[in-house]
């Protein structure tokens, strides 16, 4: 790269500093607010970051709402839908990546276009259908609903990843007497493991953060944590410390997880995006 002028570096650091504050301040605000009492919320700007921390808000939300149950629901639904989508999606991606047949590109486009569905289009009729099938407020129902956006994503990403693995690897194994499924299991899947991991991480995060389906399709038994967040906001808006605490419980696992898995995610993302 060409050497940069002094003005460039000044602009670079100034913009990064301003943007850095813009990006980190709301997260810091969430964290500190969750350790405050209701009184401390009103203490003014000067004491935003200067106060005696307390766990009262956390204690309150765990005592008044089934936070643990909702957290478990969120985890079960996310992992369930992700595993389900990974298995069937990878199999389908294999069919799209390794075979040429009439209408293949149309089919691939159809699968991808499902990902572009406005969720509300699917949510309304799914609500009515689940209502008559007695699937409302059930974890199974929610897993099925989440598959509608996870499965196309898996197929789309995995098709690209499988195409990037030379077919000769499997052919060599098959010449050596392996069956096709054996070659997939012993050769292809181990090579693809990091990609499958990256795609799975994204599916888990999409499902963990999902709101609209959960709002419409659950009531109490299968309710996930994102739906509970707005319930802490009362019309007087006094519950900010409780909302912040519930938000922290929801967000902390994803943040920790994404820091640990960042390497995979960035690679998965850039590979999938750069492909065609």
């Amino acid at each position: 790269m060409a050497p940069k002028s002094r003005a460039y570096w000044i602009a670079c650091y100034a913009i990064l500093a301003v943007y850095g504050v813009f990006t980190l301040l709301p997260i810091a605000y969430l964290i500190v607010s969750s350790f405050k009492t209701q009184q401390q919320i009103y203490d003014g700007v000067a004491s935003t970051f200067w106060f005696t921390p307390t766990l009262d808000s956390y204690r309150f939300i765990f005592e008044t709402k089934p936070i643990l149950q909702m957290l478990t629901n969120t985890a079960i639904v996310s992992v369930g839908s992700t595993l389900f989508s990974l298995v069937f999606g990878t199999i389908a991606a294999y069919g799209l990546a390794r075979y040429k047949f009439r209408g293949r590109d149309d089919l691939a486009f159809y699968i991808l276009s499902i990902r572009m569905f406005p969720p509300i289009v699917a949510a309304l009729p799914i609500f009515m259908i689940f209502n008559s099938l007695d699937l409302l407020d059930s974890k199974i129902g929610l897993i099925i609903a989440y598959t509608s956006f996870n499965l196309p994503f898996v197929v789309w990403m995995m098709t690209g990843f499988i195409k990037s693995v030379p077919v000769q690897l499997e052919e060599a194994a098959m010449v050596d007497g392996q069956s096709q499924l054996g070659a997939i299991r012993d050769i292809l899947i181990p090579v693809l493991r990091p990609s499958i991991l990256a795609v799975g991480i994204f599916c888990i995060i999409f499902s963990w953060n999902e709101f609209l389906f959960a709002l419409i399709l659950t009531k109490s038994q299968a309710k996930t944590l994102p739906v509970a967040i707005p319930e802490f906001i009362t019309w007087t808006e006094v519950g900010w410390n409780y909302v912040a605490a519930a938000g922290m419980v929801l967000v902390a696992p994803v943040l920790v997880f994404s820091f640990l898995a960042q390497r995979y995610m960035v690679r998965g993302m850039s590979m999938g995006a750069i492909k065609d």
Partner: protein, 300 residues
Amino acid sequence: MPGEKIYRAPLHRRLRPLFFLSPTLIILLSITFFPLLYSLYLASHTVILTNPMLEGWSLQDNLREVFLESPEYWDSFVTTLILVISVVAIEFVLGLMLAYFFFNSFRGRDLLFPFFLMPMMLTPVVVGTIWRFLFNGEFGLIAGLLKALGVVNYSILNEPSTALIGVVIADVWQWTPFMLLLLLAGMRALPQSPFEAAQVDGANSFQIFRDIMLPMMKPIIVIALLIRTIDAFNRMFDIIYIMTNGGPGRVTETLAVMAFRSSFEYFFMHQGAIIALSMLVLITIMTKLLSRFMNVQKGD
């Protein structure tokens, strides 16, 4: 060629891909195709959850109700358009600028990068609540700062003239990192030689950026804009539901919020279905146009 014999694989081999694809196709058909058919049923009948007696064919009446009898649909249409265009434009410019800084490296880059990506991992509902409270006129941090400047108890989200800006800020905050990530990946994938050649020819950094880097990044730029446009159009529901629930009045009520409220606040399922289906038509037209544009780009 007529008369020429083409080799055709035996049937069982030609059906092999179907074997891999059928589970996924069955699942996808049952969770998208059937609901879509059901949506058409909803849209063409009178389905009111609180009044199950009122059922019957009423497509024309429903269409007239939504599109002609009140300006609400078109207000939401314009709101959605304004929101999508402004967030995608702002996120693109910011994301490109940040990606360029990260591409050229600076002190502390690798330390800072994961923190800059954090917003896109957060649950949109939580993002919505954070900004709702930041903007709160009584105790919010931003209102507090405004107070120090002499503006008393100003709630950005409660004023019709600024509520939309509040929503835009929250969305930009959450999704600029996504633009940064994609565009940075695109920059890193570029071949080195054109840059070296331009440098030898004495081009300055800005010329290199404008005349070499941007044109070479066109495919990834189009993809990034496409993904963000579709997502902003489809998924701009959670943060609005939390921050304003479409208010004050209806100034932040996008089509998705309107479809939700018609169905689950007023229980007019048929109206919700028509609005949702109109979104599907709009997004299909938009992606068709954008992907045609993309193909034209590939063609040059």
